[in-house]
Every structure is written in C-alpha cells, then in structure tokens.
Symmetry: C2
Subunit: 334 residues, 2 copies
C-alpha cells in the first residue's frame, strides 16, 4: 500500500517578484506589448521597460507559487519548488511564501543572475500585461526536484511557463515521472497563449501522456487546438486528459472529465469592481485544487476556484490580501 500523501499539492514554477504599475493602452503600444499576455525579456529590456514604467508596488508572484499560496490560504498543505538568488528580492520572496504557509526550502543561489521579476502593467480595463525577466529562475533544474516532496503530494502542479527554459523543462519531466511512479496526479496550467504557441506540439504530447488535470483559459485552449471556437476546443480536450478546467473570465468556467461536464458561473467580485486581473487564473487553480484534494465533486471544485479568483481580481496583485478561509463558509465549507 502506498503511504498517505502528507501534502496536498507541490507546485513547480518560476520564482518571480511582481512589479506592478498602472498605465494605459498607449504605453503597451509604445513598447510593443500584447495586452493580457506574458513576454520574456532579457535584463537590458527589463531595465528599459522598468525605467519607462510609473511608480510601482512589489509583491511576490510567479504563477504556480501564487497558486500554492492560495491553496495554503484555504487551509491546504503545500510546497513550492523554484529558484531565487540570495539578494533582497529573493529574501522577500522566500519570506512571503513561508509566511503564507508554503513549504519552501530550496536554498537561494549564491551567485548568478538576480532574483527574477515580472513587470506588470495594469491598464484601466483591469487587464494585466506582463514582461518577465526570469533571472535566477532559469537556474531551476531537475536536481531541484525534491522527490520526497513530489512523492508525498496528491498533486504535482506545473506551470506552462516552465517550458521556456531548458533546466525547468527537465525539472518538469522529472517531477511528472516521480509523481506517477508514486501513483500521484500531475496537473498543468497552460499559462499563456504565446507559451502555447511556442510549445504546442510538446504540450499536446504532455497532455496525452502525462497530465491528469489541465488548467487553461479560453485563449490558451483555443490556441492549443488551433480552433476559433471555445466549444470546439472543449470537444477536443475532453478525450485527452482526465480533468480539464477551462476558465473564461466573466463567462465563468467549464470543467470537463470524460462525459461529465460542469458549467460554473463566475463569482461576484468583492467590492463590485475588477481592479486587476493579475493572478485570476492562479487563484482559480488554487480553489479548484484545494477542493479536488479534499474530495469535492468537480462542480464544487469549480465554484471554489471561481470564488478564489473573484477575491484576487478585486485588488491589486496576485495574492489575496485577505483571508481565503472565509470562502469556505457553507455552502462551500464542510
């Protein structure tokens, strides 16, 4: 008999400090940015963009790490695997993860590139557009995958962003292998439509072979199958992984698992106003995974995802400032 998992989820991803500023569509245009997407930039480009950005605030981010912080905020047991440098931003990063209740023990790199950062421009329509300088994150490799952690977790959660760096890709492969060898599940989020475009064939293979739980938004899943229509993508994905949770912003989400399909509405945003969509997908995954790990039915998992996402888009930044636990009050509590 396999040992009972002692963790709900272990996340593997880029460790990035978010640098958030408000600006308008003209700023995006002037810098050749595509709204709502993530672009990888080198150190010099990051400096140039940062110099042009307005006053900013900083907060720990990184897609999978945001999700882990969200699961922890709901009461789940989680760990994170990612790389920072031993610099000031790296110290902030580690503090925030641990303070959120996430197990994080990868030692900071003593040399090499500084801690990675994600320059985020929030436009008046509350959309976020990201330019990522990976920094120390690119040093993540297969050796960073703590096999005991992966073996101990019900789910290993991987971000599609990892696929942009060789070492991280190896870490991804190793983690998936270890997880399955221990009878655990592997979850993937597609992360970004451009990431999907860059790595479509690999993602298609991975989803067929190694991914049990897939998270994607509408643009990403349409890009994956190169279809214009959401429903067409839905019909395609249902045969390729055990569970797919597809998010559609204000249209809610659709969860498909073979013949089982749930259509879940978006939850109302506290305060009534969408401030910044940064972290919406990450927190949806957090709510969903928390429910899934405690055995909720898929519809309830989706509703918990919607609640957590609504919480984070009512504020600036990707990790909710307020306690997520109260989202678990009846009827979603137990």
């Amino acid at each position: 008999m396999r040992p009972t998992p002692t963790l709900d989820v272990v996340g593997i991803g880029n460790a990035l400090v978010d640098v958030l500023a408000h600006d308008d569509d003209a700023f995006l245009a002037a810098h050749g940015m595509t709204k709502g997407t993530m672009a990888l930039v080198d150190a010099a480009t990051a400096e140039r963009i940062y110099a042009a950005m307005g006053p900013a605030v900083e907060a720990s981010g990184g897609s999978a790490a945001n999700t882990m912080a969200g699961v922890a905020g709901l009461g789940g047991r989680v760990a994170f695997i990612g790389r920072v440098r031993d610099d000031q931003l790296g110290a902030l990063y580690a503090h925030d993860l641990r303070a959120a209740g996430v197990h994080f023990e990868i030692p900071p790199a003593p040399d090499g590139a500084p801690t990675g950062r994600c320059l985020i421009v929030v436009t008046p329509d509350a959309q976020r557009t990201m330019n990522t300088y990976l920094g120390a994150s690119v040093e993540l490799d297969a050796d960073d995958v703590d096999e005991e952690l992966v073996a101990a977790a019900q789910v290993t959660y991987l971000e599609g962003y990892l696929w942009d760096a060789d070492g991280a890709r190896d870490a991804f492969r190793r983690a998936a292998q270890v997880a399955h060898a221990h009878g655990r599940r592997v979850a993937l989020t597609l992360s970004d439509p451009f990431v999907v475009e860059r790595h479509r064939d690999t993602f298609l293979e991975l989803i067929d072979g190694e991914v049990d739980l897939l998270f994607a938004n509408e643009q990403e899943i349409r890009s994956l199958y190169e279809v214009e229509d959401f429903d067409a993508a839905l019909q395609r994905v249902r045969h390729h992984c055990e569970v797919a949770a597809l998010t559609r912003s204000e249209k809610g989400s659709v969860i498909v698992a073979g013949d089982e399909v749930h259509v879940v509405d978006a939850a109302p945003v506290p305060g009534g106003r969408v401030v910044d969509t940064t972290g919406a997908g990450d927190l949806y995954a957090a709510g969903f995974l928390f429910g899934w790990c405690r055995g909720d039915d898929l519809g309830r998992c989706g509703r918990l995802g919607a609640l957590a996402a609504a919480e984070v888009i009512g504020q600036l930044g990707a990790r909710p400032e307020t306690s997520l636990r109260r989202l678990l009050a009846p009827p979603d509590g137990r």
Copy 2:
C-alpha cells in the same frame, strides 16, 4: 530681487521602503507595539519582526517622500533629499520617486547599511503601526543638502522623524538656514507622538524660531504642548508659527494662522471604506502644500489636503495608485 522659485517644495526625509502586511491587535501586543505609532528598531529586531509578519507587499515610502510624490501627482514641481544604498530596494526607491515626477539625484551609498525599510502592520480597523529600520537613511547629513535646490524651492519640507538621527538633524538645520537666507519658507511635520515626546523641547524651539508652516495631527500637537484637549493645543500653537495645519482623522482638520482659523471637514473616502491609514498625514500635507504654493487661500489648501488624504486611505500603501490630478477638477481646479 530674489529669483523666482523654480520648485514648489523640496522635501528632506528618511528614504524607506514600506513593507506592508495585515495582522491583528494580538500581533501588536505580542510584539509590544503601540498602535498608530512609529518605533525605531535595529537590524536584528527588524529581522525578527519581519519573520513573524505575514505575506507582505513592498512600496516606496518615507513620510516627506510620500508628500513630495503627492505634490508631484497634483502637478507640483518637487525634489527630495534622502539616502538609499546601491541595492535592489534602493533602486526600486529611486525609480518610484523619479517615476512619480520627483527630482531625486542623491547618489546611492556604495557601502554601509542597506536601504532602510519600514515594517507596517495594518490592523482590521485600518490603522497602521510602524517599525522602522533606518538603514542607509541614517547616513543623511548636512552635506546632502543641495543648497541650490533649497534656494530654488518656495517651501523646504522637513519631517520630524529626521530628529532621531544626528546627521539628519544637521541636514535639517542647514536646510532651514539656507531656505530662510533665500527668503523661502520652512515647513515641518511633527510625524509621530513618540518623536514629539523624545524631542519636545527642540521642537518647541524650532517652531518658535524656524518653522513657518507646521503640520501635526491631534495626538502630536497635544503631546507637544502636554495638554489633554485639542482646543488647548490649538490656542497654544497659533502664536508660535505663521500657519499650523492640524489633522484630526475623521474629524477633519483645523488650519490656524494668527487670527484666521478654518475648520475643514474630512473628505469622503473613494469606495466608501478606509482600508489603510498609512500616508494619510503625508498626503494631507501634499494637498495643502500644493494649494499653498499656487496661492490658494488656507481653507482651500485644507480642503485639498483632505481630498488627497481621503484618496490614500481608500487603498493599501502610502502613495495613491491613481492619478491625483482629477482632485483638481472644479471647484478646486484653476
């Protein structure tokens, strides 16, 4: 004839990165903190408090610098004098000030203590309680006072917090001297009731001799004159400086200038909910100084202060995320 000032205000203060987290009254009690005040801590204590704090966000702060950012946000011409280290937090700090439109050219220190930070705990009642590690800020001294800047500014604005470090005190004295030698005005904010308690006699002297515009909240002005009653403090202060602007949180503010007295209501908070009082006094001073420099009457200066303060307490952090310019729409525009 004296040259026309080319700056509205030059601020001198501690250059601090704010580290903001939410916690409850029990946390304050457990760490011996007095709600609503600022305590100076050494590096080890700062580390200990930070380790105990929950997930945080970072934003550039420092009282006088927040005020300068506020004046710039309203359209004023401002500069800041303060000290950071050449580290990651120092780079963020300089970026944010310059991006806000504040002239800031003091080079970062190449060695010594790291950039200072202010650990801020925001309690559910929206009050902020601060623990400041001054770091590189303590290296500010009289040589950092750019006499041309001071001579060029209508007002030199000094924070009472400066009085806790020897070099900063010298910088304060030098700046006040230069300002007056050029026929400019000197403004002081008392900053914190404990700061007033530590330096009461000096502040009383300064206010009599060197301060033209005084900013204080109710606690601070009562502490200064060691009286229990606001009106008693009001009657005392009116004979000691040209203009005093006294803030009273939700009770609004009182501006007194000899026989002239204005009682100004607090402005409604956008969104209707006070989220975090960090920066309230700093932004009140920003609105007031902006009005004062363009020649508004004192009542209008106070109303502009109230509007700017209301803006910042509706969000987390000490510098408004949104444009202050729209506060200048009629009837406060010109």
